[in-house]
């Protein structure tokens, strides 16, 4: 029992160290860009050694990956009893998208990095889209059959478009804009148009 409690405690400790690293990295990446930020500067920022950072994240790219985890995608999978419905899927996509607002700074950075031709951000962007589409794909198949092979890509591109459009149109107000009901309604309306209607 004692052993178990200790493990839990040290796991919690590791988790909080991870969070410290990610917070520092998020701040520096957004301020200086991914390519200019060194692992050393992240270490200095959060009061750890380089070696400690490398223990948690073997490469800078791993830190970036960890920062842009896709939130809430697990909930997109249809439930075991097969009750997934178009409406539920639609609402979950809206929730998923709106929770991305937390990443506004990094997404702005991603766009800026892509414009500068930064290989790290370009590779990352390709990876994240693949992961989103791979997670949407089984739900789309289950709900709409195999008739719409391009739908996951279309959903992903629509969400990217909304993200970039809002980022460019609202700048620093991004997070506040995304929280407003009118924005949610727009996301809902657009996804509703792209998802095929339930067969009558």
């Amino acid at each position: 029992m004692v052993q178990q409690a200790r493990t839990t405690w040290s796991e919690r400790g590791r988790e909080s160290t991870r969070l410290r690293i990610l917070d520092a990295a998020r701040e520096l990446f957004a301020r200086d860009g991914v390519d200019t930020t060194s692992v050393r500067s992240i270490a200095e920022r959060c009061g750890l050694t380089d070696a400690a950072i490398y223990y948690y994240y073997p490469a800078k790219a791993d830190i970036l990956d960890a920062l842009l985890v896709v939130p809430g995608m697990g909930s997109l999978r249809p439930s075991e009893d097969g009750t997934a419905s178009r409406a539920a899927f639609l609402n979950r996509l809206v929730d998923f998208f709106c929770s991305w607002a937390e990443n506004a700074d990094l997404l702005r950075l991603l766009l800026a990095g892509g414009l500068e031709g930064s290989p790290a951000t370009m590779a990352f962007s390709t990876g994240i889209k693949g992961s989103v589409e791979a997670q949407i794909d089984p739900v789309v198949r289950k709900l709409f059959g195999g008739e719409f092979p391009q739908l996951p890509h279309a959903i992903c591109m629509l969400l990217c478009g909304l993200m970039y459009d809002t980022l460019l149109a609202c700048g620093d107000d991004f997070a506040a804009v995304v929280e407003q009901p009118v924005f949610r309604r727009r996301v809902f309306t657009l996804l509703d148009l792209v998802l095929p209607q339930d067969p009558l």
Partner: protein
């Protein structure tokens, strides 16, 4: 001239003097035409992007082909003006009010062009929603290309594979297309 320099050195890194030297004009002459560097950017953007896209014929019956032609014209405009697009977005991301405003105007202009086409067959609010879906999807596809391909994006915009991908996804947002139907069937099933 200004465009070349903005593309090479960035908007902030280009002085009015440098533009004048390149164009063989004195600072004074240049300031006579444009009161600020911003006005030069404004003028460049205005005369190229908006005009290149061209006006969608209003009131003409909506066709899939007509919509996709509009999409192709937008892609071509983006490819031709690659450096302006890049400067604009970079400035907008950096919080430059004028760039943000111009970007927003351009997006609003696309939406309006799409909406006019949809309005020939749909009530105004539905037409607006479809126009929003179409232009947002377009934005997602083009910006992702910008991020993923960096300097090569203009080349990608012109490639047949990318155009086919854009067309296929656009069709999914059209109110009258079912998978497997060709354009003519789409239009017929919509007018029925």
């Amino acid at each position: 001239m200004a465009l070349d320099l903005f593309g090479k050195h960035g908007f902030e890194g280009t002085s009015v003097k440098a533009i004048g030297q390149q164009a063989g004009l004195s600072d004074g002459a240049l300031y006579y035409h444009f009161r600020s560097k911003r006005e030069i950017l404004d003028a460049l953007w205005d005369k190229t992007v908006a005009r290149r896209i061209g006006e969608a014929p209003a009131g003409e019956p909506l066709t899939v082909e007509g919509l996709l032609r509009l999409v192709d014209a937008m892609l071509e405009a983006g490819a031709e003006r690659a450096s302006q697009v890049r400067i604009m977005i970079r400035q907008a991301l950096a919080g430059d009010r004028i760039a943000i405003e111009l970007r927003n105007q351009t997006t609003a202009y696309w939406k309006q062009q799409f909406a006019r086409q949809f309005e020939t067959r749909l009530p105004a609010d539905e037409a607006d929603a479809h126009a929003d879906a179409l232009s947002t999807l377009f934005l997602g596809l083009t910006f992702t290309t910008l991020v993923d391909h960096g300097d090569r994006f203009a080349e990608v915009f012109r490639s047949p594979a990318f155009r086919a991908e854009v067309h296929d996804l656009m069709r999914l947002t059209l109110p009258f297309c079912r998978p497997g139907e060709d354009d003519q069937q789409c239009e017929q099933s919509f007018s029925a």
